[in-house]
Amino acid sequence: MSITRRNFIKYTSAAVAGASVFGQVHIASAATGVIMPKKGKRIVVLGGGWGGCTAAKYAKMEDPSVEVILVERDPKFISCPISNLVIGGQKTMKDITFTRDKLAKNYGIKIVYTEATALDAVKKTLTTKAGVLEYDKLIVSPGISYDYAAIEGLDNPVAIKKFPAAFKAGAETVALREKLVAMKPGGVVVLAVPPAPYRCPPGPYERASLIANYLKKNKKGSKIIIVDANDDVTSKGPLFKKAWADYYKDILEYIPDAAVTKVDASTGVITTEQGEIKSDVANIIPTMTAGKSAFDLGLMNKPDDKFVRADAYTLESYNFKDVYVVGDSTHNGAVGGVPKSGYIANSMGKVAASAAVRTLNGQEPLAPSLINTCYSMVNDDEAIFVAATYKYDAVSKRIISAAGGTSPERSVLFGHHAEDWALGIWNDILA
């Protein structure tokens, strides 16, 4: 991790230096501060996660003559899927950390490591800390943000450090793993599941299974208590419950309808709607909203919206023409009942890229077609899954499920599929 952190600082200072240079250009040329002036057709993609990288790559694949610029803050791509296996001890950070170099090398995508600060959808410019980028089409993939303020006592640096959410893979993932490793045998782990909708519906339950697996083998007498803000397990419920009964009977306890209302970073006491629990380690996953940049850029359609409304056919945002949105930050009421999964972000990236390229070329966009598979490991070897296909429904004007279901049971073969799925989709996103 120290290497990652060092790289991060290195790149960050480079970005800051770049910004100051462009700042001077800004003063010199007074009006625009435009960097990389646009010459031909251009798509800018903001956010280099699952949705954004896929969109950038597939836009270039569909029309190599379009210039594609990817704007992203973090030089490392750290995969959230499979990060539960880092927490469980089966994988390391190295296994889930990649670069975006092949997107530049194989497809000619230009990558700018900086942060976006403002959007002018009339002038069609995205302002970043490195300067202003002109676009014909903008695809944003803002991911998610945590609403720390919704839980009393959580919205401060001490509590955030004490109770890592670990639903953005990286330093939070490492922090949670280290806390589990450091915990004395006989300790109590609390895992708080946020109210739906949140990123990766089965994610918290997979994590709880893998933590239970770790405690069973390494921390005798320890326990994990899941406090769920929802009234039941939100995904693959019967399969998770069977695995918990078979493997973690005395280790894992599940409490539904137990939203966390308050945390105390000095004592580790977690207060829920069902009472208080004294924790040794607590993974508090807060309520989620669309990534902060979605709010900052003015993409929210209604005052209380937490996710971005977009047309289900093209993923063009309700607020701005030629601005598309993909991934976890999309509003389910607008796009339809798709899960906030990595696979859906990957599928959405392809839909938005095609719609942007085609309309840029004066062609009609094509109907969206999406797939989701999502595997969850329940121990070192066995997995369960959900698999579904999605298509556009012209009557409801939403994306709907065309077919799907869960695995009938857990198996080692599904565990192999889980691992190979990750290899396949990482290839599809990054190579």
């Binding site: 085609r358 094509l366 695995s407 290899l423």
Partner: protein
């Protein structure tokens, strides 16, 4: 001279740009529907793992047949595909199969056990595998390509034929083989790299 060159450039651009605009975004129905498959099978269907099949450059007729069998429950052993295939019409399935079938094949990069592979070659010769699948396992007519396919996937498929989970007269010969023999066959065919 320079002016003339510029003139030609402008003419060339005027001629080329509209053509490029049309050609640029020619997405077939198979590609529209087939792109999301790459979320497991990787871009162009070149699945890098062991247990998920390579489909880029696979025989289109074979893929159409298999996808239909997934959709109708005739191949329940592949649980994910049995669920997913139901989301597509027969025309969709044919289009997706054409799209991936039209890709160039790229061989597996799985690590191969040379001892098992050698045993697999001997077994393949006496069992007549090459008669239907070709001298390099490249596939003939509607018989699938198995040469250079991923090893874990081949092994799992062979076990399903053995257990009668996939009905096939041609593949009935594997019913008398041991699992170790099936693994050897899988190792041999996956290891074909030419």
């Amino acid at each position: 001279m320079q002016k003339l060159r510029l003139f030609y450039c402008v003419v060339a651009a005027a001629v080329l740009i509209p053509a490029a605009a049309f050609a640029a975004s020619a997405v077939s129905e198979g590609e529209r529907l087939g792109r999301p498959c790459a979320g497991c099978h990787a871009t162009n269907g070149y699945a890098p793992g062991e247990y998920i099949a390579r489909i880029g450059g696979q025989n289109a007729d074979y893929m159409t047949k298999v996808m239909k069998e997934f959709a109708t429950g005739k191949r329940p052993g592949s649980v994910e595909m049995s669920l997913l295939a139901k989301g597509y019409s027969e025309a969709d399935i044919a289009a997706i199969s054409e799209y991936y079938g039209g890709k160039a094949w790229k061989n597996s990069t799985n690590k191969i056990d040379s001892k098992k592979s050698a045993a697999g070659l001997k077994l393949a010769k006496v069992s007549g595998c090459f008669d239907c699948h070709g001298a390099k396992g490249e596939g003939i007519d509607s018989f699938p390509r198995i040469g250079g396919q991923n090893s874990g996937y081949l092994y799992e498929a062979l076990k399903r034929y053995k257990a009668d989970k996939i009905a096939s007269e041609e593949m009935a010969l594997v019913k008398d083989m041991s699992e170790s023999q099936l693994e050897s066959l899988a190792q041999y065919f996956s290891g074909i790299r030419k």
